[in-house]
C-alpha cells in the first residue's frame, strides 16, 4: 500500500546534527516534500527529532531522525523554510529551542499561559528557560498603521488573531497568531490503538472528517496487520470525493458571498447542502463521521447503493457544472478575483504549500496520485494545476477538481466492488518492533499526514498529525502582501484554512 509506509526504528540509528541537516537539505533539493517534522520523548530527558519526507515518485518515503539535547538543537528552517512552523511547535510543546530560528514566537501558548508550560516535555529533563512573550513584527514609517482583527470574529468562525501593518490601504505585513484552539489532540492519540483514535481523528478538523479518519484508519490497520479489503477501500475513497465536492461547493459559495455575488452565494451554498446530504445517506452523518472502522467501514455504510449514488451524483454534477461556469465567467467576478492575493510559485515551493492552494501556484502535487490508496492506484485521478496563484486560480482549481471528482466517481462507482467491506475478522497484533508509521491522504484541503511511533506491542507512544492548514497558514501572509486590506477576507476565503487543524 503506497499511502502508508512503515519504518523499522529498531534498525535505524539516529543521525548526528550535520548528517541530519544534509539529509533534510538533500531531500528538499531533490524535490521531496516535508511531510512532517516532530519531536519525540524517548526517555527521561532524551528527545529525538524525526523528519518524514515524501517524493513525487509514487510512494517514495524517507525518514531521518536526530537525537537532540533537552535544551536546544540547531534550526533547520534555513535549509528547509517549510520547517518554520514545525520548529515553533516543537519549542512550544517540548521546550527544546531551535537555535537560530528566524522568528521564534509561541505558536500556541501566548500570554495567559504559564511561561514554563511545555506539555510534552515530561519529567526528568532540566527545567527550561521561561518562554518569551509574543513579539509582533514592528513596521515603522510615515503613515503606517496597525489593524488588529480577532481572535473573536464577526461571524460563526474559529478564533484567530490577525495583525495588519498597513500604509494606507496597502498591507505591508500580516502576522497570523493562532493557537486559540489548542486542545492537546496529539497526546490523546497515544495508548493502545482502537476505535478511540478513529473517533478523535474525525474531530481534528470538523470539515475533513473523512480525510483524517481515512488516514488514521489506514495507519492503524498497517500497524495492527489488519488491512481493509478492496470494497471498504473503495467506499472510503468515494466518501472522500463526496466530501471534497461538498467543501469545494461551500468554498465557491463563500467566495461569492465575500465579493457580494448573490448568484454564486445562493447556488453553491445550496449545492454544498445537497452534497452533504449525499454524504449523510452514504455514511449516516452529514460530515461523514462514523465511516471508518479499523479494518473496514462501519456496519451501516454504505447507506445508499452504488447505482442510486451514481444517479444523484450525475444530477449534482450537472448543476455544479452549470453554476460554476456562470460564476467563473461573470466579468465582474473575474475582474474582482484576477490578480488578487497572488502567491508566487517560488514562494509556494519554498514554504512547502500543499493542496488546492499549492496546485493553484504551480505545485504539481496530489497525494491521491503521489501516495495512492488502493482505489486511486486502480483509477488514477486527474491532477489540475494552474500557474497564476491568484484568487481566481484557486477558485478555478476548486471547480475543475469537482468536475474531475464527478468523472472519477462515475468511473469507480460503475466498476465492481470486490470482497467484503465489513471490518477484518483476523486477529490484530502489533508490528513486533519499534515502528514509525506514516499515512498520507489527500483531503479536500490538501495533503493530510498522520505519523505514529508504535512500540512492538502496538502501543502508540507518539502521534503526529500534519493538517494541510499547518503547511499553508504561513503562505497566506505572503499572498496578501502589497494587496489592499479590503481584499484580505477574499484571500483568506480562497485559502480557507482550518484553525482547529493547525492548533492540535
Amino acid at each position: 500500500m503506497r499511502c502508508v509506509h512503515l519504518f523499522d526504528l529498531d534498525a535505524v540509528n539516529p543521525l548526528g546534527d550535520a548528517p541530519f541537516r544534509t539529509f533534510l537539505a538533500g531531500g528538499i533539493a531533490a524535490g521531496d516534500r516535508l511531510l512532517a517534522l516532530f519531536a519525540e520523548r524517548c526517555g527521561p530527558g532524551r528527545f529525538l527529532v524525526h523528519a518524514a519526507l515524501g517524493g513525487s515518485f509514487p510512494g517514495k518515503y524517507s525518514h531521518g531522525c536526530v537525537e537532540v539535547s533537552p535544551k536546544s538543537f540547531p534550526t533547520l528552517t534555513d535549509v528547509c523554510p517549510g520547517a518554520h512552523w514545525f520548529e515553533r511547535e516543537i519549542y512550544d510543546m517540548f521546550g527544546i529551542l531551535p537555535q537560530g530560528h528566524p522568528e521564534l514566537n509561541p505558536l500556541r501558548f501566548h500570554e495567559g499561559w504559564e511561561k514554563r508550560f511545555f506539555p510534552m516535555r515530561g519529567d526528568g529533563s532540566p527545567s527550561p528557560e521561561p518562554r518569551r512573550g509574543y513579539r509582533f513584527l514592528q513596521v515603522r514609517g510615515e503613515g503606517i498603521h496597525e489593524i488588529a482583527v480577532g481572535p473573536v470574529h464577526a461571524g460563526i468562525i474559529e478564533p484567530g488573531h490577525f495583525r495588519f501593518s498597513c500604509a494606507g490601504e496597502t498591507i505591508q505585513n500580516l502576522e497570523i497568531q493562532l493557537g486559540y484552539q489548542h486542545k492537546g489532540t496529539e497526546s490523546l492519540f497515544t495508548g493502545a490503538p482502537g476505535m478511540r483514535q478513529l473517533l478523535l481523528s474525525e474531530s481534528i478538523s470538523g470539515d475533513t472528517a473523512v480525510g483524517h479518519s481515512n488516514a488514521c484508519a489506514r495507519l492503524l490497520e498497517q500497524v495492527l496487520g489488519t488491512p481493509a479489503e478492496h470494497a471498504a477501500e473503495k467506499w472510503r475513497s468515494v466518501a472522500l470525493e463526496v466530501e471534497r465536492i461538498a467543501n469545494h461547493c461551500g468554498d465557491l459559495g463563500g467566495l461569492s458571498t465575500d465579493i457580494g455575488y448573490l448568484f454564486g452565494a445562493s447556488h453553491f451554498s445550496r449545492l454544498r447542502g445537497t452534497a452533504l446530504n449525499l454524504l449523510m445517506r452514504l455514511t449516516g452523518n452529514r460530515f461523514g463521521r462514523g465511516l471508518n472502522r479499523i479494518g473496514g467501514i462501519g456496519p451501516r455504510v454504505p447507506g445508499i447503493g452504488a447505482e442510486d449514488l451514481l444517479t444523484e451524483l450525475a444530477r449534482l454534477g450537472s448543476e455544479v457544472e452549470e453554476a460554476g461556469s456562470v460564476l467563473l465567467e461573470a466579468p465582474s467576478v473575474v475582474a474582482r478575483m484576477e490578480g488578487t492575493g497572488r502567491l508566487l510559485a517560488a514562494t509556494a515551493k519554498t514554504l512547502q504549500i500543499v493542496g488546492v492552494v499549492g496546485r493553484a501556484s504551480g505545485r504539481d502535487i496530489d497525494a491521491r496520485r503521489d501516495f495512492p490508496s488502493p482505489c486511486f492506484e486502480e483509477h488514477p485521478p486527474r491532477v489540475v494545476v494552474a500557474a497564476e496563484g491568484d484568487v481566481l486560480a484557486r477558485a478555478r482549481i476548486r471547480y475543475e477538481e469537482m468536475r474531475s471528482s464527478f468523472r472519477w466517481l462515475s468511473k469507480v462507482l460503475s466498476s465492481p466492488f470486490a470482497g467484503t467491506s465489513s471490518p477484518h475478522a483476523g486477529p490484530a497484533s502489533g508490528p513486533g518492533r519499534r515502528t514509525l508509521a506514516v499515512s498520507v491522504e489527500e483531503g479536500w484541503r490538501g495533503e493530510i499526514v498522520h505519523a505514529a511511533i508504535v512500540e512492538g506491542n502496538g502501543h502508540i507512544v507518539r502521534y503526529k498529525i500534519a493538517d494541510p492548514s499547518f503547511h499553508n497558514w504561513p503562505g497566506l501572509s505572503f499572498a496578501v502582501q502589497k494587496n489592499v486590506v479590503s481584499d484580505f477576507p477574499l484571500c483568506n476565503k480562497s485559502f480557507n484554512l482550518s484553525y482547529s487543524g493547525a492548533d492540535l
Binding site: A154, F263, A335, V485, L490
Partner: protein, 300 residues
Amino acid sequence: MDFLLHMTLYIALAPLLSGVLRKTKAFLACRQGAPVWQPYADLWKLFHRGIVRSTSASWLFDLSAPVVLGGTLVLAAATPLHSREVPLPMHFVLYIYLMALPRFFQTLAGLDTGSAFGGLGASREAAVSAMAEPALLLSMCGLAHLGAADPLNMFLSGLPAETALRHPETILIAGTLFLLLLAENSRIPVDDPATHLELTMIHEAMVLDHSGVDLGMIQLASSVRLAVFSALASGVLFPKALTLPVYLALPAALLRLSLFGVLIGAVEAGTARMKLSRVASFLMVATVLAAIALALQYAG
C-alpha cells in the same frame, strides 16, 4: 400642510424602498426573503433600544446621528417627490454641500471612537465621496440648466414636462445620477451593505460603534438618502409624474420608488463588488456621462 405631506411621504416611503430592494435581491437569489415592511420593524426595534457608547467617544459621537438624520431630512425637503413644488427650494451648489454634511459628521464619528475599523471606513468613505464630487457637480449643473429656470431657486421645478426621449441629455443625466446613487449610498458594486466582513466595509465600518436610537437614526437617514437619489433620478426620467394632481401623484411616487428598489436590487444581484482601486474609474464614467450631457445641452 404641503411641507408636512412632503416630509411624511419621504419618511414613510423610504424604508419601503429599502424593503423592496432587499426583497428583490432575495427573490433573485431564489430565497423567500424578509417581508418588504421589515425595515419598519427594524427601525421600531432600534428606536426602543438603549445606546451602548464607547468610553473613548466624545460629544462629536453623540452629535453625529442627529446631524446625519437632520441633514438628510433637509436634503429631502429640497428634493421633489410628488410635485414640482418643494417646501425648501435651494441653489444646487448648496444642495451638493448639504449632501456632504451628514457624511462629514458620520466620518468624524467614525474617527472619534478610535477603533481601527471606524478610521478605515472613514478614510474610504471620504475617498469615495471626493471622487464622486465632480460627477455630482456636473450632473446638478446639467439639471439646473435643463430646468432653464432660476437655478438659485428650484432646480427641478423648471424641468420641461415632456418625455425624456425628446432630450437625450436627460437620459445621460439620469444615468449619471443612478451611478452616483450606487456610489453615494454604499451599494454594490462600490460597497456591500450586507457584508459581515469588517475589513471590506466602507459605510458600515463607520457605523459599527453606533447602537440603539443612534443606529436607528442612521439607518433611517440611509433609507431617506436612497429615496432622495431615487426621486431625483426618476424625476428626471419621468418629469410628467411631477405634474399630476395629488391623488395620482402619490401613487406615482410610490411606484417610482418601488421601481428603483427593484432596479437597484437587480443590479446588486447580478454584479460582484469591484476592487476598491477600480471605484475611481467607475466614478470617472459617471463624470464623463455628466460632462457629455452638459456639452449636449450647450450645443443644443
